[in-house]
């Protein structure tokens, strides 16, 4: 094993003012500018992802694996929060705030959205149970009226 070498810090270097300290008070510091860029970038990531997302919804083409969408929402949220934490003017702050709120909001929605049914759910091979309900005109409907024909039954979440 080679002998350990001790590193001695140059005390003069430690005493040098950092770049940030050398900026005159009240001037725009370089990381303010980049936070603005970050905020706008966060918003652009979110907007791009959302545009594709809602187009897919319109076309009924949401992919089964939504990992890329969720990742882009989380990234937009993180970028937005980073920009806000760094301190940013309103030009970057507004898009950063929107990206943070909506990006994390949609990520949260995804995390709580998985659907599951109970163990008594209908299975392939079962006989269609008889049921009745009101139709769109408020008229009673009974499943017996469609007996003898193939049926596509669709349960969905409604208009809202």
């Amino acid at each position: 094993m080679p002998p350990m070498r001790s590193v001695r810090l140059n005390p003069q270097l430690l005493q040098q003012p950092s770049f940030l300290d050398r900026c005159p008070a009240g001037s725009t510091r370089i990381w303010d500018v980049s936070a603005t860029v970050l905020g706008i970038l966060a918003f652009l990531v979110l907007a791009g992802s959302m545009a594709i997302w809602f187009r897919k919804i319109q076309a009924v083409q949401i992919p089964e694996n939504r990992g890329a969408f969720v990742a882009s929402w989380a990234i937009a949220g993180l970028l937005g929060v980073t920009a806000l934490v760094q301190g940013v003017g309103w030009i970057g702050g507004i898009p950063a705030g929107i990206a943070a709120a909506v990006g994390f909001g949609f990520t949260l929605l995804f995390l709580i959205s998985p659907q599951k049914v109970g163990s008594d759910a209908i299975r392939v091979g079962a006989t269609l149970p008889a049921f009745k309900a009101l139709d769109e005109n408020g008229e009673p409907f009974e499943s017996a009226s469609i007996a003898g024909k193939p049926v596509l039954l669709k349960f969905f979440r409604g208009h809202w």
């Binding site: 109970g118 759910a121 269609l128 309900a133 024909k149 039954l153």
Partner: protein, 112 residues
């Protein structure tokens, strides 16, 4: 669902009826009807009686509209002429619906 009408010739060829169920009231369904443009019966399952009969009430986090005690997990069920369930399409993701191509594949496989 509005894309199912793309399958109209395939549905008619096999004599397949379409029945939809949701928790909307009949009035709400009728109001939304032009949007769906679907030829079929659209039933109101406000109290989730049919949903529970099929055992497909969502047991996950409930994010339903006010005035409704729950929601079905979006489910498509293909039943043959003998009344036997031949195919079930159910998604963990409520945004994902049964695409027409998935339904068509099921029609071809199970009804010929």
């Amino acid at each position: 669902m509005r894309r199912w009408e793309e399958l109209r010739p395939e549905l008619d060829k096999r004599g397949v009826q379409i029945v939809t169920l949701c928790t909307d009231t009949p009035e709400e369904i009728l109001a939304g009807h032009p949007k769906h443009r679907l030829k079929g019966v659209m039933l109101s399952d406000r109290d989730l009686a049919v949903t529970d009969l099929f055992g497909i009430r969502n047991q996950g986090v409930h994010t339903g509209p006010p005035g409704v005690s729950g929601l079905p997990v979006p489910t498509t069920i293909l039943v043959d002429a003998e009344g036997v369930v031949r195919w079930i399409d159910q998604s963990k993701n409520y945004q994902r619906r049964s695409d027409p191509d998935i339904v068509l594949a099921a029609l071809r496989e199970h009804l010929g």
